[in-house]
Symmetry: C2
Subunit: 341 residues, 2 copies
DNA sequence: AGCTTCTGATAAAACGATTTAGCACTACGT
DNA sequence: ACGTAGTGCTAAATCGTTTTATCAGAAGCT
């Protein structure tokens, strides 16, 4: 790490450091092409790259973005969000400084302060699951919210369009011919807002098909395979005429539980029961037997979107209601026509 | 972000900026306690915190660590590693700058250069799976390797002790009384070195129990549930006297496939077949039915270890052979005594 | 008194860049 | 010959710190 400074380039090219800076930053100062060539050659030969710390001090911007997340480790989705952010950053010569607060408020305050002292140009405030958050006091006004939205609705934010996703999932089942479709709801602490949105989408789709949602077909499950198993058993303990021919699950984990309970009861999938999940969770959705049709959460796209807002490389989204990102349907093999149609 | 500078504190306390700096950095210069108090009070009142960019320029260290990873998004394990790194960083007032190279060499070169230009104090080179890597040309000599080791064996590195993990898993099955234990090997591109190490551990344990490993009980599987299903079927198409009573799987994903095939064949778990996995993969190991006994990968601990080396807050590990991190057994319910003991 | 030592503080240099203002020289028109 | 315009380049200020060297005054000693 014996670093070469602008001074070294200047000496090598036999000009002043001013000239070197002007040339390397493509200023339109009056420097003839010949001199420019000489400077560029010297810089190239020495392998010069400007010290970003010095440059940051002078320019008052560091080409650095702070990424604050509440729980990096507890979700497998974090990666794709960070990757989206990171890809856009790289494409524009920015670096990201990452801090995980573990959801602790005190840590969060310190993290925000650290990033401010490090003079990051802007910050992204990310949640690992879709939620409404209280805007942290110290967070700069121009922070972008990723996968969450501030309670005060002031700020640029992006969240998945869970309602449209719920509609899409249900429509898929309706098109396959199903009429009795259950919704496996999520209970957990804190209550995920996504489950209500997905349920609304489910209702939208049913009503549009002329079906009134039936309360008994909405059953609550712990967010886990076990929750899915239990809910499924409750569902199939109904009189057989009332049993659903398809279920839409809050997420792939509970869908996995549905598979388990269905297998145990000797139901064939998708012959006796069609299933649609949500999340397109890596290593679980695709690896069910049969592979699970599900709705994908657009984590990568949301990450990109947030960073594009931060860098101002996309049309600016107004502060206010969050941008809703589409959740695409991932077709696999867990949906078929209902058994006795 | 109207920032308060050291100048402002100096004015408020009616001293020079030198004095402020001296006091705030607890220098042992001759400043009487009374003046110190005054300065501290002024700093506190104004909410002063030093500009880390300016400080970094002057001190030639930024309290910033570069974290280079090959594939952040494709593995659910990344999170725990990053979290370990990040926690130690925070405890010592450091920040981490994260770049994902996507495994691309050109991107990697640029990333290393960016971090160097940003004057990170040191770098961590992380792999999302256990592998041997070629030391990137531009990587500083003092970089620490996380979950991988440089081919040249020069450098501080930490990897999971997969051999001991394989031994531990097998011993668990031996203690339960099993004698015919299969190993479900992984085939994938590139060939994961972990699978050979785990197999060696498996052999170690068997031999120590006086059992010679049987080649037919080592069967290859694609790293996926489907691979696990196929391998299981091959295993149980053997003459029944030769069928294993337990399997040790390369990882939890293939173990999930074993569950599927076993259920399909009507085998009871763990009555007819005991299973041990590897990875303790979130949302898959614990959610099998019955929950899967497995070996955990110590990602968090490795992350911490790497950062502690970087910051020099733990006894220095010599450059050379990698530090082997223990993989603990996670007891759940997929192991029982063999059926006809 | 005259010298040294101690005390309390600060001026100024340095870190490595960017940028503003301006200098020295040539060319040109009259 | 002289003012003006244009060309090629650079000195110096600046960003916000840390740190070294030094200064003024008080105190102590002979």
């Amino acid at each position: 790490m014996a670093r070469v400074r602008i001074r070294d380039v200047a000496d090598a090219a036999d000009v002043s450091i001013t000239t070197v800076s002007l040339v390397l930053n493509n200023s339109d100062a009056r420097i003839p092409e010949k001199t420019r060539e000489r400077v560029r050659a010297a810089a190239e030969a020495l392998g010069y790259a400007p010290n970003q710390v010095a440059r940051g001090l002078r320019e008052k911007r560091t080409r650095t973005i702070g990424f604050i997340s509440n729980q990096i480790a507890t979700t497998p989705f974090a990666g794709r969000m960070i990757l989206g952010v990171q890809d856009v950053a790289r494409e524009h010569g920015y670096l990201i400084i990452l801090v995980d607060t573990g959801g602790d408020e005190e840590t969060e305050r310190e993290a925000i302060a650290s990033l401010a002292n490090q003079r990051v140009d802007r910050m992204i405030y990310a949640s690992m699951w879709h939620q409404v958050v209280d805007r942290p006091k110290a967070l700069p006004q121009d922070a972008v919210f990723l996968n969450c939205r501030p309670a005060d609705e002031k700020g640029v934010a992006v969240v998945p369009d869970d309602r449209a996703g719920g509609r899409l999932a249900t429509e898929r089942l309706l098109t396959a011919g199903h009429r009795r479709i259950a919704y496996l709801d999520a209970v957990s602490e804190p209550h995920p807002i996504a489950t209500d949105l997905r349920y609304e989408g489910y209702c939208d789709a049913l009503r549009q098909a002329g079906i009134e949602p039936e309360p008994r077909l909405r059953v609550s499950a712990e967010v886990s395979a076990q929750g899915g198993r239990e809910a499924t058993n409750r569902l199939f303990d109904l009189p057989s005429a009332e049993c659903p021919t398809a279920v839409f699950c809050f997420n792939d984990r509970v869908a996995a539980g549905v598979y388990q309970a269905a297998h145990r009861r000797g139901l064939l999938l998708p012959g006796d029961l069609s299933i649609v999940g949500y999340d397109d969770q890596q290593y679980v959705a695709a690896e069910q037997e049969p592979p699970l049709t599900t709705i994908a959460l657009p984590h990568y796209a949301m990450g990109r979107w947030a960073m594009e807002q931060v860098l101002g490389v996309a049309p600016a989204w107004p502060a206010g209601p969050a941008h809703l990102m589409e959740c695409p349907l991932v077709e696999r093999e867990s949906v078929g026509p209902p058994s006795e149609a």
